[in-house]
């Protein structure tokens, strides 16, 4: 049983275009049976935040290749990628590298 979590979800590098142009979202994740991890967060984002073109952000279980995920300014590969358990007041940043220049 997971308590409600308050996290900040940020988007950068062009990913914000899919979220109405808003870069920072302060979200409160509701309490639920399973603990909150990135995998569940992505499902939640797809349902509640993503405004258009889900295939440009999510591919299958994970993010589309080319989108970096940083948790508290650290690479998610160091934290277990999709299995990282979210904690209160975490900052999750999604940067799209596909818009180069």
């Amino acid at each position: 049983m997971a308590a409600p979590l308050s996290v900040e979800v940020e988007f950068g590098g062009g990913a914000e275009l899919l979220f109405d142009g808003i870069k920072k979202h302060q979200v409160t994740l509701p309490g639920q049976e399973e603990p909150w991890d990135i995998r569940n967060l992505l499902v939640w984002i797809k349902k509640n935040l993503l405004k258009e073109r889900p295939e440009l952000f999510i591919q299958g279980d994970s993010v589309r290749p080319g989108i970096l995920v940083l948790v508290n300014d650290a690479d998610w590969e160091l934290l277990g990628e999709l299995d990282y358990q979210l904690q209160d007041q975490d900052n999750i940043l999604f940067i799209s590298t596909l818009h180069g220049g």
């Binding site: 275009l17 940083l70 690479d75 299995d83 818009h99």
Partner: protein, 526 residues
Amino acid sequence: MCQVGEDYGDPAPEGLPPPRPGLRSRELKCVKCKEGVPVVVIRAGDAFCRDCFRAFYVHKFRAVLGKNRLIFPGEKVLLAWSGGPSSSSMVWQVLEGLSRDSAKRLRFVPGVIYVDEGAACGQSPEDRAKTVAEMKLILQTLGFPWHFVALEEVFGLSPSVLRCSAQEPVGAVGTYKVAVDSFLQQQHTLGTERAGGSPSPAQGEEWLSPPGTQESQDPAGPPPAAQTEALSRLFGSVKTLTAKEEFLHTLRTHLILHVARTHGYSKVMTGDSCTRLAIKLMTSLALGRGAFLAWDTGFSDERHGDVVVVRPMRDHTLKEVAFYNRLFAVPSVFTPAIDTKAPEKASVHRLMEGFLLRLQAQFPSTVSTVYRTSEKLVKAPRDGCAAGPRCLLCMCTLDVDAADSATAFGAQTSGFSQTQPPTPRAGAGAPTEAGGAQDRCRGAGPCGREDSRAQVIEQLCYGCRANMKDVPSLDLLPPYILAEAQLRSQRASQEIQEYLVENGAEEMQTAESRAWGHQESGARIA
């Protein structure tokens, strides 16, 4: 071995391969300093802490410049900035590099150029104005002289931008070292003179004057509406996104080249990262530009002669760039480009990008392998002849033999016989001495248009020809392209005519001498 009817059991499980163990533990330390807490994973499994990552990133930038030894001290270098992460990172590195202590300081004189492509990307005027304001804000804080140009200015370019200027002799490695030594010596004497109180020589002041005093190029307002309209129409008429992207790249290159030549910049730095170059390599192969891979993806690109395009970010992957920009607060502005939100199969570029990045997710050495391959490409001139005709648009040495393309020639001449015969020039304009070939119908009639299209097409390389297929009407092209095409075509046919006239004269001479000799012998007999 494989046999028909044999059952191989369940198909392989879908999804990513199991995550690598060891990276999960929080006790992992930075691989470089062995004590910092790692924040980013580079390549396949190297975890770096924040400070080591910064040192690694900056070192790579300096190493790429130092290894290639192409940029001489005091040289004027134009930084092509698009607002995106890679070019912003590059500009930031140059900024930091110039402010270091004198031994390790970068020694060239930079300027920054930004090309506003809003009209080609279909941005509304309000969005465009907003983007422009954001860009100018950053440009002003940099402290370099900056040039702000709108893509519409291609309609005002002269055909000379398409001509390859005389190449400056590159010189051996020895010249580079000599240049650096003499620069350092000059700095040293300047320093002692200053300390002694005597006035410093004027030449030294050029290098040391504060950049703000040099003029920055800033147009007063938005470009004329007619030009914006023409540009939107041009890009609206191009049929495929692939051709649009290629064409946009070509026009942008011409514009930057023009600015560089006008203001005396001998080098242009672009922010192409490792990932982008790997994608570009594969895309170029698919688009028929395989002959020019070494120039398109190498460190230096000297096809323009006097202005050399240099790619100092080519060792950095997009992931490293994004991390560095985030961790060290490098300002960058996001602008929608021509392929924003385009679906996966919208263009060859998108397809190739999706392919490479998906492969990279499963096999982390994909991008670096493609990149290493590009490093091995050698710029060998075709058949040993470096000075052949050049493509009108991309300015690479033509890879299509005009003489060999018999089908193309046949298509052209059959087109001629089918259209009306050339109208005789009744007193209009002095007929040139060359005569015949110049009598092609050139005018508003349909056969004139076919002729001018063929004129342009035959001066393009294979890749550019394939692109042109998706541009239905050449009338919408900026005038400098059509003017240069006509000029080159005239020059070519003039050369042919001169050759024929010469040969004709020779033949007459031999015929005369033969007749003369005959007469003489006849006289003797008689």
